[in-house]
Symmetry: C2
Subunit: 324 residues, 2 copies
């Protein structure tokens, strides 16, 4: 059991990352109104959020720019149109997926960019390319994190080998990513512990990116904070793929550092998120996501079930159990 | 950190209590269709649930029987119409509130009743009457639990004094009740620890009844299981007052004992809970409940906000912050 002092005081090393445009963009193909993005940038500043992730740096060879909103590509000019020279305390992040980013060309020198942090998303088996991307971004002058996805399917021995490789790169943060939202707090604690040991060895930080399939995204984030994880991903109203993410309003209500304010988040949700939902954009906890989470499966079948407006949960369960 | 074996194996002492009719009845004034109740009784048997709480034993002096459904009063005949002689492994529970139950008259001798367990709900300051109710029910032949409500507002010294008094009664189970849904897992763990110490001293069991204001009802229940709490309250689709309770479908998916099955719960939800929601019965996590939870307030203002169909969360926050 933790000391009472740890429940009352706070760690100033905590960094809150708003991933609303990036993970939320996965449910509306990144078509956010310009006012939404501008207001989110302002709300994040008022709320004391540390990083705002604008979206992906996706390859224009692989993805048709006419089929997605601009935040799938995060052109420098589009970011600049929102943040100007970004003379604020809020830092700017983008995500670059291994195998889906033309990073040599599309990520420019930091001195010419408003972006501060490149978040490199990888699977265990693509770590070598992730290392190349980390080194490329580091040489260009960026902070970097490495988000190891689908970690609930990784063996501990492979994960340790991956973290040992990453430890030797200039990456700043290792991220625990519960892509399937299938992990319980006790399991997250065990994973955090592995990451934190390698982080201590190599002088890195650890982050957590949780999904809400089992209504545990916030609980797993709280559990991680208590263990020493410093970088915390959240999204407004949990907006994100499938069951969504740790809710920013829950996280900022929990964190004790007086720099964090929940009120600007409420204002933003009232103005923009309600509207999105009324317009038919759907995300968040529901039984179909619970079931893929329980079975430690990718949520793609549940997303399809949602798109089709199905409510026959029992039939869906039979489908995915027998498919496993 | 717990041993891996504890994550894989299970404790056979666990008891799952379905509180759907009782806590859920608070959102529809206990008007459940007869088929709902009958199917719930069957679903609970199939799912391996240990106790089914049918509702309250509310005083007919204090509450008008014409203004509530029958499960607010749980007449013996109404229960018998569903369960007959209840020749099943599923035990029957009702709740009796201190100050709101004519227990001397309305709770009959166990030998004439289908009810197995009387759950006595009390505040710290009404413990003496709770003791009288426990002794009355015990003498009549029932199992009893004592649910100490609003515990997030109780001082540890008073709570310890209350548990020491209750320990000397014939009560079987002490219940941790997070009425305002305001407690984080670490805080729940500290409370559990106090209860478990008194339980060990007096040979009692400990239970947990969580609310979902901070999306932590399930997480707090999981945390409690890990610490040694054996009696676990849950409701189908979290149906319960305000933000609702720990979801039965999450809990049964988590518990490792093969006697528990999630599939009958899915079938029930598909058939009955979707219908309730379509008919306009409203419960579950939303920002107004998050806010009363954060502020450790009774959810009554949030329930009113919900009833009025308000969505001006920021204004509501200002109202309840300045009201505190």
């Amino acid at each position: 059991m933790k000391e009472v002092s740890e429940l009352i005081d706070y760690r100033s090393d905590i960094k809150v990352v708003d991933a609303t445009l990036r993970d939320g963009g996965l449910v509306n193909d990144f078509y956010f109104p310009d006012e939404f993005v501008k207001d989110l940038y302002i709300a994040n500043q008022k709320a004391g959020v540390d990083y705002m992730e604008f979206g992906y740096k996706a390859s224009k060879e692989l993805f048709d720019v006419d089929k997605f909103g601009k935040w799938k590509f995060c052109n420098e000019d589009d970011i600049r149109a929102v943040v100007g020279d970004n003379n604020t305390d809020l830092k700017i992040a983008v995500m670059a997926d291994v195998g889906r980013c033309d990073y040599k060309n599309d990520i420019i020198e930091k001195k010419n960019s408003a972006i501060d942090l490149i978040r490199i998303a990888t699977y265990i088996h693509t770590i070598p390319e992730a290392v190349d991307m980390i080194e490329d971004a580091y040489k260009k002058g960026y902070q970097t994190s490495c988000n190891i996805m689908a970690v609930s399917n990784a063996r501990e021995s492979e994960l340790s080998a991956a973290l040992d490789i990453l430890g030797k790169t200039p990456v700043d943060v290792f991220y625990v990513v519960d892509s399937f939202g299938s992990l319980y707090p006790e399991q997250i604690a065990r994973l955090d512990d592995i990451y934190l040991n390698f982080a201590a060895k190599y002088g890195k930080k650890v982050g957590i990116h949780a999904h809400n399939n089992l209504q545990l995204a916030f609980a797993n984030t709280v559990e991680s904070v208590g263990i020493g994880v410093d970088w915390l991903d959240a999204t407004y109203s949990s907006m994100g793929r499938g069951a969504g993410n740790c809710a920013m309003e829950l996280l900022l209500g929990f964190l004790r550092n007086p720099k964090y304010e929940v009120y600007p988040v409420l204002q933003f949700i009232e103005k923009h998120i309600n509207k999105l939902r009324e317009d038919g954009v759907v995300w968040g906890y529901d039984l179909q996501y619970l079931l893929t989470g329980l079975l430690n499966q990718h949520p793609r079948t549940a997303i399809q079930f949602t798109k089709e407006g199905r409510k026959d949960y029992a039939e869906f369960y039979k489908e995915i159990v027998t498919d496993d």
